[in-house]
Symmetry: C2
Subunit: 447 residues, 2 copies
């Protein structure tokens, strides 16, 4: 009979440093994180953990920083199969001559499933453990994320025009709600409404989305104020800026995840702060498409919740949240004209907890706290590229490359172990990616 | 007796794709590069290379892109030992409260030698094969780069104030010229004059540098127009903007490598184009220190030679030229408000050939052409992060991480083979980096 008075648990991860995100800016040296089931049960000094817990598995990472998995607050993951198919183009020729013709030719459940799977592989290898998805075929997306054990908020797409997913506005609503119903209370997959943008959604449809979002308690994920042209067109068509129009329709509230937001007046920033809006800032997409500069630091200072997203791979061209976080921190300083803007700890919080808050998961993920879901990563700091190391958070934000991500867990399950995707068939995945490459290149012989 | 009619050579590298940079924008599929001694002797289809050459060694890289090694056009490499020691600070507190006190405590030949060695390891692993260095103790730098077989242009530092390297202006000149004399005709190490900045160099000293640079045929590497404050101060002190003052002193010419250049009028851009000035653009440093936005696309369109640099690790915080090249391409579009600005091929040329031209090495390196030095890298494209692949150059600029660099050669000698630094003692290097960390942390107990 065992006399072990220690508390049994599933796993203890001992790390050189733990960055829990809450409390803000804290680095815990030589600590351990205790996991039982799908949850974090404790964070404490390593020696104390050894005295108090009897884990089934102990993972030692003395050279790594353990931190929450990154949350990608805006992506179109299946577009990964179009990575770099057309670059250095203005928005309209990029869309009309490249993206849309390709989508018209290949859009299908198989395209979505393979795209999501390749994206999950890239995200896990790069330390992202949750994404806010926005694309067609949410049914296929949800099935793929569930099958792969990846945490995702799947957008229920809405646009006034027919697509391969739905033919009429009514069908977008019906099919979307059905998908959501099929995954009610899923442990990993939740949903948002994802009306495309103010310029592709009517007042009536926005009104219906507002009502449904309230009834079902879902976020509303929309591209808003992406370009100056969008503002001009809205003024011409509606006599209002898009955000003012959305406010008239009752959508400017704590459910709104407003993506891009490069064009903002001080009054609009104040409105967003007052209403509890979240902004999903996509710095590299905004730069690459020359959409404008999101006033990230002004939003933060006003108290707006700022999250970070990569946008889709057709415009970025990756799902690298480490690179995106660094770019957000650097660009915020340049745009604000203030080197103290968006410091490293704030950038890391934007890429974790504030992203989770934006998409309705702030109580469950985004920081390392007892009771929260066990979604976290270990990042090796012993490489030449991160030596010497003075501050773990500075190193994570300003020097770390995503290849230093060594391990990733979602809901307590290891998804990446020592750099290996433990439950994915990478060879098959790369073969399928090659097949899609051939099909897409055949659509566009110039490619 | 051999009847082999093939031409003997040292090495043939067969690559899935070769991007020679000259001609511009070209991708050669399934080609081979032939090396003999320290030079490239041919680039031709793989099958043809097999028929015509009898190499001592054949290296097959069917999944890789072979391209010129990247040229870092502005760095302070020994500052790598201060990587991330102080972030998110305005320039003056950063310098006066952090960088300068640390430098005062640790500056020494050993600090320079270890810093350069760690930097070489990071640069080679990240695909950089040449740097334009700007720091103290050029004698130690030159000895370290020569010993490690790394190609560098070492700046002969000049500042009106005493430092650990020299006590008086005369001593800066005397010691600098002696170093240059000791390495005359070195195969890998060459020199520039590196007066710190207009605000720390007198008219008399600039005048002497102009004369010496002409006599010795050396580039002049200077921080110019880094911030708006610099312009204001110069107007107050000299009644001229710094570039106008340098023009009066005869320094605005094809020798000038003007670093940063965030503050430029159209007339100044035209002047730089007319005189053949090179600009070393450091986008991440400019963002992180909130120095301003270099009008990179306007410079390029005016015909100014645009190179790319990382700046030092105390302000960046890495020597990652892939990240810097991507940032330059993205930021150029954002600043120009034009998504077609600085396309991928132009960004790659800025990070290779145009960097080489800036520092006086355009005839020797920066592109893959017969007769040029064999400085090149192979970048693996088979990873999840760069699949599918439509365009090799797009992938290199917008999706590739430096960890995908698999091999690097300098002057025909392999320096990185399958990710391994072939002639460096990495364990010893990391131990020394840790020792410097401890010494610097002791200077600043808060660290």
């Amino acid at each position: 009979m065992s006399t072990d008075a220690r508390t049994p648990c599933d796993e203890v991860i001992e790390a050189g440093w733990i960055v829990p995100v809450v409390p803000h800016g804290v680095v815990l040296a030589d600590h351990a994180l205790v996991v039982d089931g799908d949850r974090i049960t404790a964070i404490l000094p390593r020696a104390e953990a050894q005295a108090r817990y009897a884990p089934r598995l102990t993972t030692a990472r003395p050279d790594s920083v353990l931190l929450p998995g990154l949350v990608n607050a805006h992506t179109h993951n299946p577009m990964i199969l179009m990575r770099g198919v057309a670059d250095d183009l203005a928005l309209m020729p990029w869309l009309t001559e490249h993206v849309w013709p390709i989508e018209a030719a290949v859009m299908s459940p198989a395209f979505i499933a393979d795209g999501c799977e390749l994206a999950v592989a890239e995200m896990l290898r790069g330390g992202t453990t949750c994404c806010n998805e926005n694309y067609f075929f949410p049914d296929v997306q949800a099935a793929t994320y569930r099958r792969l054990g990846f945490r995702a908020v799947v957008g229920l797409p809405f646009i006034e025009f027919p697509s391969a997913w739905a033919a009429t506005p009514a069908e977008y609503f019906d099919k979307g709600l059905e998908v959501r119903d099929n995954y009610r209370n899923d442990a990993l997959v939740s949903f948002s409404f994802a009306p495309h943008a103010p310029y592709t959604v009517s007042d009536a449809s926005f009104g219906r989305i507002r009502v449904l979002a309230e009834q079902l308690d879902l976020p509303v994920h929309v591209h808003v104020h992406e370009t100056a042209q969008e503002i001009e067109d809205s003024l011409a068509q509606h006599g209002q800026r898009p955000l003012a129009r959305m406010d008239r329709l009752g959508l400017v509230n704590e459910r709104l995840v407003a993506v891009h937001m490069t064009q903002l007046t001080p009054a609009e920033i104040a409105l967003c702060a007052e209403r509890g809006v979240s902004v999903a800032h996509c710095p590299q997409s905004n730069l690459k498409l020359a959409s404008g500069f999101c006033p990230a630091e002004a939003l933060r200072r006003a108290g707006v919740n700022l999250a970070i997203g990569t946008d889709g791979c057709a415009s970025n061209n990756d799902l690298d949240m480490f690179d995106e976080m660094r770019c957000a921190a650097l660009l915020a300083k340049g745009v604000a004209g203030d080197a103290t803007a968006m410091d490293a700890a704030s950038a890391l919080r934007a890429a974790t907890l504030d992203g989770a808050r934006a998409i309705g998961l702030g109580e469950r993920i985004g920081s390392l706290e007892p009771g929260k879901q066990a979604d976290f990563i270990c990042v090796a700091m012993d490489a030449i590229e991160t030596q010497p190391m003075y501050h773990a958070i500075s190193q994570l934000v300003y020097a770390t490359g995503r290849q230093q991500v060594r391990d990733a867990w979602i809901a307590g399950r290891r998804k990446l172990a020592d750099g290996v995707l433990v439950d994915m068939d990478v060879a098959s995945l790369l073969t399928r990616a090659g097949d899609w490459r051939a099909r897409i290149a055949a659509v566009r012989p110039g490619v």
